[in-house]
């Protein structure tokens, strides 16, 4: 059975590119338009990996991670940040919030898939 990845980003084009790349590699993808939507969808179905942006309306990525980590079902689920933010300060905040990795946009699909496979397998 294909593994499911939740991609959270307020940019429609970015979500489309992430979804395209992940589906081409054989993963199922659930999309969310902001942190709150991501949290709701994560609660509906526990996914195998969360890939989230940082700067979004309503709820940002760091707050989403903190909320997910407070849920028993998401304490060990890998969460990766995929964001334009590249400062060490923000990366440290991400790590402290419970992120397992930090990917700076734009992403190369081949490298994204390599990372996803490394984190959750094919």
């Amino acid at each position: 059975m294909a593994k499911t990845i939740l991609t959270v980003d307020d940019s429609g084009s970015l979500r489309q590119m992430v979804t395209f790349s992940l589906k081409a590699a054989g993963y199922d993808v659930v999309q969310a338009v902001d942190g709150q939507d991501g949290l709701n969808k994560a609660k509906e179905k526990t996914v195998d990996l969360v890939l989230t942006d940082q700067n979004m309306p309503i709820m940002d990525g760091l707050t989403l991670i903190a909320n997910l980590r407070s849920l028993a079902s998401y304490q060990k689920i890998p969460i990766l940040m995929l964001t334009t933010e590249s400062s060490d300060e923000m990366k440290a905040k991400g790590k402290a919030a419970g992120a397992n990795g930090w990917l700076v946009k734009p992403f190369d699909p081949k490298r994204l898939i390599e990372v996803v496979q490394k984190v959750i397998g094919a």
Binding site: D9, S11, G12, S13, L14, Q16, M17, F20, S21, Q54, N55, T83, T84, E85, S86, K91, G94, K95, A99, N100, G101, W102, L103, V104, K105, P106, F107, D108, P109, K110, R111, V115, K118, V119
Partner: protein, 180 residues
Amino acid sequence: MKTLPIDELRELLAAVSTHGDWHLLEIETDLQQTTFLLNEAIEKLSHSFMNVYAQLTEQQTALQLLADAGKLQPEEMQQLQIFQDNIGQEVNKVVTGMQFQDMTNQLIQRTINRVNGLKALLQELSSHQLPMTAEDEHDEIRNFIMQLNQNFGQGSQHLTGNLRKSVNQQDLASGDIDLF
């Protein structure tokens, strides 16, 4: 007795505020239009890209059936593999390139927020002119202008503080990856 040119100063402040507001509104309108056009362009490009990719996948499946049926020569199969690899590399480049909109949108939104902040700052110039009259003492006028200047400075600093830059990319090369 010579009075201070308060009316002229008041008119100048009002003119800076009004003209500034009008120009900033034009900038905001242009930026909104640019965002709209970029969104529509990326939507159409993405749609076409997905269609092209779907067609290529279908074509690849058809060619694979021919190959499996032994209807292709080894050198033809080798050539097809080269084409497939090249297409794969180009698709990756397109997916990376298409992400420009996410970054430009964030930069445009930051610019629009700065424009709106600047409009509010300019409003200060016209809204704080009322307490002045030509009969005021020189020191009172000076204090008023200093206060206005201070408010303007604080407003500008506050605006900058609320506009943290989240996009520092200078090109579309793929970004760093850190696993914790």
